[in-house]
């Protein structure tokens, strides 16, 4: 983990900037979405943060299988928990957004199905961890499942929505790409917001990891 406090402060400042400037900034007037487009600064960074967290978890799972150090397994598990937290936030912000633009909290959309399935897979990962008592066995089995599920879900989330013909999300099927025609002024808010949330995710992961290590030390 990175030493120092500067990256935590940077994350906080970036998010503060994205909240304040994201509400003040001039957004392009589009039909149906109107002002709700500002949710882009909050909804999409949640998924970015989730993916980065799940990717971190994958890296630590692979590291565990090659090193067999329990600390790597601990970080992998906490990264999944943090990723799940951001995934649930992403689902919630998305559902509210969907209610106001598409008229329903849940629509049958490849992107939504992918999100639901990946949250399900990682909840299954937590259940798998809970069902094994022996530490080394738990670490090994859950690392294997983590790698297996991540690879399949990356295929599922990364390739399938692009193959699907109809999606309400931009950038898929007949719609135009998200980042390509994003307004330059909005990009000035969106990218800092994404970086800020990713930094905050790493901060949360750091705190969770330290708390877990302290808990383990207190146990006899």
């Amino acid at each position: 983990m990175i030493k120092g406090i500067w990256w935590k402060v940077a994350g906080l400042l970036l998010i503060l900037y994205s909240i304040i400037y994201g509400i003040l900034v001039e957004v392009p007037v589009l039909p149906v979405i109107h002002q709700t487009i500002r949710n882009l600064f909050f909804h999409v960074p949640m998924w970015f943060a989730m993916f980065i967290m799940l990717g971190t978890s994958l890296v630590y799972s692979i590291k565990y299988l090659s090193s067999l150090k329990l600390k790597d397994d601990l970080i992998a598990a906490q990264a999944v928990n943090t990723g799940l937290f951001f995934g649930l936030l992403g689902l919630m912000t998305g559902m509210i957004w969907a209610k106001f633009t598409w008229g329903d909290f849940w629509t049958n959309d490849p992107q939504l199905n992918g999100a639901a399935v990946s949250v399900m897979a990682y909840l299954a990962y937590s259940i798998l961890r809970g069902s094994i008592d022996e530490k080394a066995l738990r670490a090994r089995v859950s690392a294997v499942y983590n790698i297996f599920a991540f690879m399949l879900l990356v295929i599922f989330l990364g390739i399938l929505p692009r193959l699907a013909d109809s999606s309400l999300h931009p950038g898929k099927g007949g719609n135009s790409s998200t980042m390509g025609d994003l307004d330059p002024t909005m990009r000035m808010v969106f990218y800092p917001a994404a970086i800020g949330w990713i930094l905050i995710a790493f901060w949360i992961l750091d705190i969770r990891k330290r708390k877990r290590i302290l808990e383990l030390q207190q146990q006899p």
């Binding site: 399935v117 066995l137 790698i147 297996f148 690879m151 295929i155």
Partner: protein, 218 residues
């Protein structure tokens, strides 16, 4: 290679000696198909046909594949461990389960068609994607069964772990089934959906070969 063939033979023999397991799955397929026939009659729209068929087949697959590692006792596991390499064990299980699943799939398809009729599918897309889908589901579930059996043979765990892993494959197969209903599909579309199925099968098998040795050593 010889090891793998021997292990497949062993699994096949075990299956024949314990006929009740296979018969139970067949009876399950017959009864669910019959229930579907009772409630829908012969007339059923194509999407419903595809969905119900895969639901029936999916549960049959869960029953058929989940016992592949669960049926092995701890002592017997130790014995395999001393005589065979983990890679050949997992490959033999995947090949055996794929064969089982494909034959089970065709049997169920025959029954299903008998009771409910067959929509007008394009055979060039329908059968290859059916076989590839069966292989994919079987190999993914083999791996999940290995994971679940390491965690203490919990049946609920198998379902919970299996569904998220199987859904990508299922969606691809169902999409290509729907595509094969189309009367004038392009060759490019056929190739695209078949290669994506092939790709996902290959990924599952490669992952299983890489990851299984970590599960096996204890």
């Amino acid at each position: 290679m010889k090891e793998i063939i021997e292990l497949i033979k062993k699994d096949f023999l075990l299956e024949i000696r314990q006929k009740y397991a296979l018969n139970a799955i067949l009876l399950y397929v017959v009864s669910t198909v019959f229930v579907v026939q009772l409630s829908f009659g012969r007339v059923i729209d194509e999407t419903g046909w595809i969905a119900l068929f895969w639901i029936i087949l999916l549960f049959a697959a869960f029953n058929a594949v989940s016992k592949s590692f669960v049926q092995e006792h701890a002592a017997r596991r130790l014995y395999y461990f001393t005589i065979a390499a983990p890679v050949s064990i997992v490959l033999s299980k995947i090949i055996y389960n794929s064969l089982l699943m494909v034959s089970l799939g065709f049997l169920s398809l025959a029954l299903y068609v008998l009771f409910l009729g067959m929509p007008d599918f394009n055979a060039w897309l329908f059968y290859p994607s059916f076989v590839l889908g069966c292989i994919g589901v079987a190999s993914a579930l083999t791996m999940v069964s290995a994971i679940a059996s390491s965690a203490g043979n919990n049946a609920a765990l198998m379902a919970v772990l299996g569904f998220p892993v199987v859904i990508p494959m299922l969606l691809l197969v169902i999409n290509s089934f729907k595509l094969s209903l189309n009367e004038n599909i392009l060759l490019l579309q056929v190739i695209k959906s078949l290669t994506s199925l092939l790709l996902i099968d290959a990924v599952v098998v490669i992952l299983a070969v890489i990851l299984f040795p970590y599960l096996w050593r204890k």
